[in-house]
Symmetry: C2
């Protein structure tokens, strides 16, 4: 789509721009985004999920009191008379509101891919957009312990495998009840549980010393208590760590920790059956900010999503030997830069009852950071496919005409062939000129990498034939100059070639997987 004239002065004299923190999606970016969405959606559907769609704005009071300090980031609609409304801040609260309003729905697996809105100020510093996509999958309903939780983690791995991230991501996992148990055992006063928990949550970005200082100096925790916490939260592992914790008599004497450890043991057995245990890191430092989690919590990290606090617009080296993400002009606002995870979620059993006093619907879910996934996917594609011209649309056939002196352009004939191809479901275009020149037509086809041309000429038409030409064949190829086919067999001939081409070139050309 070429260069953008950003912040242009338009014909009306005002600045021509999109609002701060928002962007237009077009060209190759749009193609990649659509492919990511369809890849993710396919996995959700494989597990029986359905989608629901809620309004982009909610009653203001629905959002009130759900986001703590971040409530100041909520966009309100102007009071133009009538109800007071706000743009949705996430997809979880609208889902809980929907569940509370539809009391006949006692269970559902739902996904929702949609934009959410946050007045983050300033957006650039935090590397965050004000309008951005979320992709949520949640399971609501009462089921036997840890089975839906295990399936969510299985779905998560299927999605990242389908996106071609094999071996390049880790699911960090912890349990709120274990964390609470640890804090209690270490001697954290009840009223400081949540605030100490959010300090621990910073361990992915800050060293223990800094977190300890926050706990003791800012939050007034006793230094010895902090040190005891420190001995727990630096640990990570798998079944080995689980066993170590289960042998910790002080910890297992705590009811909360004991229940959490039993959950993890059961979960690990399910994850082994699902063959995904090796993707998991049981990580005591994972705490997750949101208050509403009640059980298992998890976060997916990848080499490309490691945190960075630099605001430089120069290319950054990522840790872990990962590929550098090009942080050019148009990506200085990119949410993938400097943010720690590409997906996150957990179990929240009490949120629905905040809306619906009468009933409790246990939920577990995950939110995929599609903007970050997009950025990482795009950089990889740029690195891998630099030699191939990107296709923007899906056109399979470009219909052309040529002729000598007195050539009239064969427009009705081109239109007629287009009609025939469209009727058979073949994606076809022709140049919207009465008398186009042949090079013009080839240029239009090549500009978008259309794989086949159907070429019409007066002599051929008189004989009831035309030519099919595969674009971009090397010199010397026997079909370089095209193949003459009967007009009456055109559809069949085109379909055969398309099928072969798709198997050989098309799939890899359009694939977003590695």
């Amino acid at each position: 789509m070429g260069r953008k004239d950003k912040e242009d002065k338009g014909g009306s004299g005002f600045q021509l721009k999109v609002p701060k923190g928002t962007k237009d999606w077009d060209g190759r970016d749009m193609v990649i985004r659509e492919k990511i969405f369809s890849t993710i959606t396919e996995v959700f559907k494989r597990h029986g999920a359905v989608t629901i769609d809620t309004p982009v704005f909610e009653m203001k009071e629905i959002l009130s009191g759900k986001y703590g300090e971040d409530s100041k980031l909520i966009y309100d609609l102007a009071d133009q008379g009538g109800e007071l409304c706000s743009l949705r801040y996430d997809l979880t609260v609208p889902f809980a509101r929907w569940l509370a309003m539809n009391s006949s729905v006692q269970n559902i697996k739902r996904y929702h891919i949609a934009k959410v809105y946050r007045r983050d100020q300033p957006a650039m510093t935090k590397g965050r957009m004000r309008e951005f996509y979320q992709c949520d999958f949640d399971i609501a309903g009462s089921y036997d312990s840890m089975i839906p939780d295990a399936e969510i983690l299985r779905i998560t791995t299927e999605i990242f495998e389908a996106l071609g991230w094999k071996g390049r991501y880790t699911i960090k996992l912890n349990h709120r009840k274990i964390l609470d148990g640890i804090f209690q055992v270490c001697g954290v006063p009840e009223e400081k549980l949540r605030t100490i928990s959010s300090a621990v949550d910073k361990l992915d970005k800050s060293p223990w010393e800094e977190v300890r200082r926050e706990m003791t100096e800012e939050k007034g925790l006793d230094g010895e208590v902090a040190d005891r916490i420190g001995r727990y939260v630096v640990r990570k592992g798998s079944k080995d760590l689980l066993e170590t914790l289960q042998q910790d008599a002080e910890l297992t004497a705590n009811e909360s920790a004991k229940a959490g450890l039993a959950d993890i043991e059961l979960l690990f057995s399910y994850l082994e059956t699902f063959d995904i245990l090796e993707k998991i890191s049981f990580d005591m430092s994972l705490a997750r900010g949101l208050d509403y989690y009640t059980g298992l919590i998890y976060e997916v990290v990848t080499e490309g999503s490691a945190p960075s606090t630099s605001q430089s617009s120069k290319p950054k080296k990522q840790p872990n030997g990962g590929k550098a993400i090009q942080d050019g002009d148009d990506r200085s606002n990119d949410p993938s830069v400097g943010v720690g995870s590409v997906a996150a979620g957990g179990r929240y059993d009490n949120l629905v009852s905040m809306f619906s006093g009468k009933q409790q619907i246990p939920c577990v879910g995950i939110s995929f950071g599609v903007e970050r996934i997009f950025s990482i996917t795009k950089s990889r594609l740029q690195a891998e496919q630099s030699s191939k011209p990107p296709r923007i649309n899906d056109t399979d056939v470009f219909i052309m005409a040529f002729g000598g002196k007195g050539f009239d352009g064969l427009l009705p004939q081109r239109m007629g062939v287009a009609k025939t191809l469209w009727e058979s479901g073949i994606k076809a275009e022709f140049l919207w000129k009465v008398k186009p020149k042949l090079p013009q037509q080839f240029k239009a086809a090549e500009a978008n990498g259309v794989p086949f041309a159907v070429v019409l000429g007066e002599d051929e038409l008189a004989k009831g034939t035309c030519k099919i030409k595969e674009m971009g064949l090397p010199e010397g190829h026997p079909e370089k100059e095209g193949v003459v086919v009967e007009m009456s067999k055109l559809v069949e001939e085109v379909k055969q070639r398309l099928q072969k081409w798709e198997l050989e070139d098309g799939l890899q050309d359009m694939s977003i997987t590695a």
Copy 2:
């Protein structure tokens, strides 16, 4: 999804509802809507279209002065500091803004399916939602006359045929230059051209006498001038009408009318080549309200979209012998009721230059009223498929287990089979219980019309086998009790049956076409 507890008092004491004029989409409605979107998108892509996505809100000044009187219906965001923004009112102005900002894009075929926002007050009376979907397709760029216009009409017919509306829709068509010529020839003063044009636009809802009264009494037009207009605007036809008008010496002496008639003549020749001329009604009464049209204008009407001014919530009889649309409780706010068209558009060659002084990009486009198309499609499906239980998700296989005394539920085995099926891309579910009862499992599968069950039993597993059972087979069918297959061949066996089932039942079950 069952009954909704609308306007419930939630656990927090406030009214649990969505904002006025908005709705949640779920269940079967969501499935139908998604199918309509994918049907339409497929046709767009067949013609080489790409999609772009713009922010849901724009700078307030971008929308200012684009919608005339309707500007009062624009939703503003609250002034929370920073830029003043408004929710988009349609998809055309954001597209024109995007074109103006991306000056390297000199031509594009783009579609955009997204929600737009109008503070219509009150929504019920006008049968209009405040948040609703639009589906726009536009062609921008300089091409030879009437070729892109003809392709848009061809695309329109392909979409309605794909939706199963064959023979049940008409494309009304007119030309702004012919209308202007008629008004000039009849003696309408230059400054009254647009206001008289919008009076003519009401002829689809009001008789001529009423429109004549508006022209003369409200708009001060001379009675004789009005009568002369009356003789023109009641005419409709096809090539016959074109010929009649071309023989009208007074009309063809008018430059504007002459140019418009030449366009229509050329267009008709293209529509004949595209084999869609019989879908067209050349209708002198079609004027279209929006100011920005400069050439061809069109509107698609169907038996189900005829206008109705009644606000009754009882079932309505539609004219033209069409099926009645059930106007039940949940559809009293339905935009398909009492609205005249299911798609409309035209050529607008000057809109982009409103944003970008330096350049003019001619455009022609159409907007599909997807909410109306949804309502009509839904009523037809209800009438046609009442005996079939609607499927909400796409699950192909439900994995079950059964056993005698001491049965442990075979959960790891069910999980293992699920994993194997998922890995082959098969959509599969199992009941998230450690020890589910067999009837429970069958009920869960039947509730959603899952076509196949894979049944595990301890004895069969010991022999390395399991059973595949097609659901809903009649008594006496040889495979009623299921077929025993080797566990090692399960994927293959399931895929074979699924393929056969999809050909026989699946396609028609999931189809939205007639």
